[in-house]
Amino acid sequence: MQYGRVSAQGPGPTDVIFALRVPPAPSGVLGWVGMGARAMVGAGVAVAEGVVSAVSRVVAPPTGALLDATVPVVSDAVVRRLDLRAIVTRALDEIDLTAVVVDRVDLPAVINSALDEIDLTALVVQRVDLGTIVGAALDELDLTEIVMIRTDLKAIVTRALDELDLTEIVLTRADLKAIITRALDELDLTDIVLDRVDLARVVDGALDELDLTQLVVDRVDIDTIVNHVDMVTVVDKVPVVDIANYVIEEIDLPRIIRSSTGGVAADAMDTARLQAHQVDQVSEKIIDRIIFRKKRNVDAPGDPQSLAALAVEEDPKP
């Protein structure tokens, strides 16, 4: 930076100090052109200062007042006559502002100062169309792939599960009915159950837990069921004759009939037989005493018909 002073004679402040930035030595054609432009601007400024200085000398001593009256007019005229836009555009074309800023500006300090002053969050929320940005970003990115590659899903999920009460979250935030309905629409539950569930184990477990008899007694209207049963068919399947014979045997009907009717003759015959047997035994004892015999061998070969069938009935099973 080069500093200069333009002094004017007369009362009041007559010195004009100006600073002229002196760029480093140009490099290349563009550098020389830029330098020329800057020299032209500097020359314009110097001419303006020279004019001011000359006028100040000519019209002094009321130079100060005169300058106060004329300089703004002249400046405006000069400014109007200069194509400042073109000059600035040209200058900007010539100057690598980025490099200048990078070289000359203490960017961290500037940025920190700016950030201190600005509420970035509010600014972003207010000025940025986040939806569009995020949508575009999501369109461009494969989030799944990124997450799979870059994140420790296990740790994240574990941490999340430790932190969260999933049950409470699901109960409070999820439309369980809709989820379940959708899931049931999508899934073939029957196939899933048949393929994946050990039905025998499940049923056994359920039956172990339940008192089916009590359940049926409590919940089933057996009378209604029986009313719907075709009893004729049931009776056709019942061994009525066997049941009748069973009842006859259990109540001992033959013995009842025998004792009430024809049993009189049979009982008389049995009595006669028993008495005859007793006479046999008495007579045998008498004779055996007479002839001093201890005991007779009355066993006969074979089985009597009266006991053969009974022997079958009473044979113990092996």
Binding site: P239, D242, I243, N245, Y246, E249, E250, P254, R255, R258, A266, M269, D270, A272, R273, L274, A276, H277, V279, D280, Q281, S283, E284, I287, I291, R293, R296, N297, V298, D299, A300, P301, G302, D303, P304, Q305, S306, L307, A308, A309, L310, A311, V312, E313, E314, D315, P316, K317, P318
Partner: protein, 199 residues
């Protein structure tokens, strides 16, 4: 109480046939079934048979007289000699006993007194043996007295012919089917009473 299932099991095994035998056989008579019968019982049975034979012989004797009267009307018909009645009685008794012992092993007298005639093996006597024993009994009825003195309750006929008259009250209500032996294991358990398995 027997359950219905147990009843059906017994029925399928044929054990229910014994029910009728149980009904026909009083508990007090079971212990001596199969033993050789004593003198009194056999005398009563024999007496019944003789009475039957005498009745039949007398009826036959009367029938002969009536036939002669019918065939010779108006003539003087004399009664046949009593010897005919005796012959008829003996002949009838011989045939009757032979047929009864060779078939069922029981005469009517035997049946009434609960007796059955068996051979040395415990089987019903064969026709020749039955005929021989019948003839022996008809010809020498006093051989029955030997039952009193025999150490094994045998009559003289039994001793000679190796037969036996045993107590066997119930008739064969199983239709002659042989007892079904148990499938495996030791020999059949003896029926109740002192009479054991065959000796």
């Amino acid at each position: 109480m027997t359950s219905f299932r147990e009843y059906l099991d017994r029925k399928s095994s044929g054990a229910l046939d014994t029910e009728a035998i149980e009904l026909a056989l009083p508990e007090a008579a079971r212990p001596f079934q199969g033993e050789r019968a004593g003198f009194a019982t056999r005398v009563v049975a024999c007496g019944i048979d003789v009475a039957i034979a005498a009745t039949v012989a007398l009826g036959a004797w009367v029938c002969i007289f009536l036939v002669k009267v019918i065939l010779s009307p108006g003539t003087d018909v004399t009664m046949p000699s009593f010897a005919w009645a005796v012959v008829i009685a003996y002949s009838f008794t011989w045939m009757y006993w032979t047929m009864a012992w060779a078939t069922t092993g029981r005469t009517i007298g035997n049946w009434m007194m609960g007796l059955r005639i068996i051979d040395i093996h415990g089987n019903p006597v064969a026709w020749p043996l039955a005929a021989l024993r019948s003839a022996f009994c008809v010809g020498f009825p006093f051989g029955l007295i030997w039952v009193l003195f025999s150490p094994s309750n045998r009559s003289l006929q039994d001793t000679v012919l190796r037969t036996s008259a045993i107590y066997d009250w119930a008739v064969d209500l199983t239709g002659g089917r042989a007892p079904v032996p148990p499938p495996e294991g030791p020999a059949s358990v003896a029926p109740p009473g002192p009479k054991g398995a065959s000796n």
